[in-house]
């Protein structure tokens, strides 16, 4: 929307109202993280600023367009609106964006099928001319999270919007998250020059390897496009681009036992606190080769840097690119250091690194690598469910995710995903039914740069009060109580509780788009986080509390004054009544006196006795 008056400051105050569902509250905070990662927009709890966004559970998902300067500007995240892409969509409205297909130039790109639109709904397909709305110099974007889906406002199931390039028919209406163009427009509108939480990304395609340096070891990392013993290609391009496709490799096979090779990032200045380091690692060396992840931090006491170890990786899966997420905690400027250490066992290869990303956010907790998903998609029938390994949450809950790759029997054609609690080693000391744990299931779009990833997220939250349909059992009770026994191939067993998720996690056409599948494989990341603290109302800012308090005081004061007025009126009324009674009594007395006087006068005149005027009282 054109007009500076519609802009918010780049840090936007928000208030999460009590009416919101817990899963929505957690989802909104996740959406804010996406804004922080990919734009310069930040969100901060409302501290009394004049204008703020107040999010509540209305009867649907809706928002105003732009900053309306109304003080409390409401945005609704109602039932079924708690998808990450939907929340991002509504906040983009609030930030000043219309729908993509209402652009002035939309008729160049889509045909609106007027005869398929529900009668009376045609006004929803109007365009805004370039005096009202600007596309900010960005080309029409079929992949925008702000685009209508193809059957919006349709009488039946026929599309109301037909893209002029047929390929985009199944692209429009995506609710995964920001597209690259959405981000370009948002960053242009708010003059962003850098993001709030992104720190660095490197796919090692350039010769300068993103400013990384070789550290003080007796061996070195090399920039390669294939390595002896593997991998044959990099991860970013999977060898599909001639003359491209590099990664960093430490060939432990040609090093001596105990040799070390350091690869250090350029100097980084992340926000103090939690950071997430993500990268892909391909191991072909010995089991006892070790990759250490350090941070070298600099301060006045340590001008040449002080090393802090965050993770040591050895053994594990060999011969494939694996996603690693490592939580760091940098408090000042520093470098991320990858130290490869040659073990004593025979090695035929080494360590290979690609697609490194660092951001000031918490990492997802677990990775599920689905190998050869292309073959699984071709061979799994509808209704066939594939379960992840079991994982432990930081609070100690054990869980797993089950996916229907080809959908359920009732809704084939799209991937379904369900979260289950499972029995685990800590069950005896955990709270049951499991209270307010939010599970995030995200299918990773395997783009090199985290800012370009359009991951598909869905969240579900355990409500300890939720019961079975007959009301006899708690849904999120201990899986040993409300679950089924699952026997594993090695003879061990565990219990799996009931699941919660969605039959519409992702359509097959979207699954096959972008880089959800790369080199035949897919990656899910999962987290199970305690969101109990979101049950408590967001504190009101001091000014609002003061305002409330002063309003209350005013009310009390007014009440007191009113009371006083009431009292004085009562006194007046009583006094008036007393006076009136006294007056009447006086009149009666005076009247009586007068009558008696007249009678006496008459008697006196009769007796000729004159009595002087007497005081009545």
């Amino acid at each position: 929307i054109i007009g500076d008056k519609y802009r918010w400051p780049t840090t936007i105050p928000y208030y999460l109202e009590d009416s919101l569902e817990m899963n929505a509250k957690g989802g909104i905070l996740k959406a804010f993280d996406q804004y922080r990662l990919k734009t310069c927009i930040d969100f901060t709890p409302w501290k009394g600023e004049k204008n703020y966004i107040s999010v509540y559970k209305g009867s649907g998902c809706f928002s105003s367009v732009g900053n309306q300067h109304v003080g409390k500007q409401r945005l609704s995240i109602g039932k079924n609106c708690d998808r990450l892409g939907t929340i991002e969509h509504e906040f983009l409205h609030a930030l000043g964006f219309w729908h993509e297909q209402s652009r002035a130039d939309r008729d160049d790109y889509v045909n609106i099928m007027w005869d398929r639109i529900q009668p009376g709904k045609e006004n929803n397909f109007k365009k805004y001319d370039d005096k009202v709305s600007s596309a900010l110099g960005v080309a029409y974007d079929y992949g925008s999270v702000m685009h209508y889906s193809k059957t919006s406002f349709s009488i039946g199931s026929e599309p109301t919007i037909v893209t002029k390039i047929p390929h985009f028919m199944d692209v429009i209406g995506q609710r995964m998250g920001f597209s690259a163009s959405d981000l370009t427009k948002l960053n242009r509108l708010y003059n962003c020059t850098k993001s709030s939480s992104f720190v660095d990304s490197c796919d090692f395609e350039e010769e300068n390897i993103c400013g990384m340096i070789q550290g003080p070891g007796n061996a070195e990392w090399e920039q390669l496009s294939s390595a002896r013993g593997g991998p044959q290609t990099d991860f970013s391009n999977m060898g599909q681009c001639k003359g491209k496709g590099y990664f960093m490799h430490f060939h432990t096979a040609s090093a001596k036992p105990g040799d070390r090779a350091f690869l250090e990032s350029r100097l980084l200045y992340p926000k103090p606190g939690a950071q997430c380091l993500q990268f892909f690692l391909y191991k072909t060396g010995a089991d006892d080769d070790v990759l250490n992840i350090w941070v070298r931090e600099y301060d006045e006491a340590n001008p040449s840097g002080k090393l802090k170890l965050f993770k040591s990786i050895s053994g594990g899966v060999m011969g494939s690119w694996e996603l690693h997420n490592i939580n760091l905690n940098m408090t000042q400027k520093g470098r991320v250091v990858f130290e490869g250490v040659r073990g004593h066992s025979p090695s035929k290869g080494g360590f290979s690194l690609d697609d490194i990303n660092l951001s000031s956010t918490k990492c997802p907790q677990h990775v599920w690598h689905i190998r050869n998903i292309t073959r699984l998609l071709a061979t799994t029938p509808a209704g066939g469910k594939l379960y992840s390994p079991r994982f432990l949450s930081p609070a100690g809950y054990s869980f797993q995710v089950g996916v229907y790759l080809n959908g359920t029997r009732d809704s084939p054609g799209q991937m379904a995903a369900y979260f289950h609690l499972t029995s685990g080693p800590n069950d005896h000391k955990l709270k049951w039914p499991c209270p307010w744990q939010q599970a995030t299931m995200a299918l990773i779009d395997q783009q090199s740069d985290i800012r370009q990833q359009m991951n598909m997220h869905r969240m579900v939250t355990t409500d300890p009060d939720k019961k079975s349909s007959d009301g006899t059992e708690y849904y999120w009770d201990n899986p040993r109580k409300v679950g089924s026994k699952v026997t594993v191939s090695d003879g061990s067993y565990y219990y799996r509780g009931p699941g919660m998720g969605t039959s519409a996690f992702i359509t097959h056409s979207r699954l096959k788009s972008r880089n959800f599948i790369k080199g035949e494989d897919a990656f899910f990341v999962f987290s199970l986080e305690d969101i109990s603290d979101l049950q408590i109302s967001q504190p009101l800012p001091r000014s609002a509390v003061h305002a409330d308090a002063s309003l209350m005081m005013k009310a009390v004061d007014q009440g007191a004054r009113q009371g006083a007025a009431d009292n004085s009126m009562l006194v007046t009324a009583v006094a008036g009544s007393v006076a009136a009674v006294m007056l009447v009594v006086s009149m009666v007395i005076v009247g009586n006196a007068w009558r008696m006087r007249m009678r006496r006068r008459k008697q006196e005149s009769d007796k000729m006795v004159i009595i002087q005027d007497m005081f009545g009282f």
Partner: protein, 45 residues
């Protein structure tokens, strides 16, 4: 009704809900499906 490991709750109840469907079911008739129109930019419908 007894809960088991096979029990599933589909939060989307078998639908691939988009914003417009959600608001339609809720009986909302907002501008372009999900825009809460303020007076300052009201349009002639």
């Amino acid at each position: 009704a007894k809960l088991t490991g096979e029990t599933e709750t589909d939060v989307d109840e078998g639908h691939d809900w988009d914003i417009f469907n959600i608001n339609e079911v809720a009986g909302l008739d907002l501008l372009e499906g999900d825009i809460d129109q303020e007076e300052t930019f009201s349009r002639n419908s």
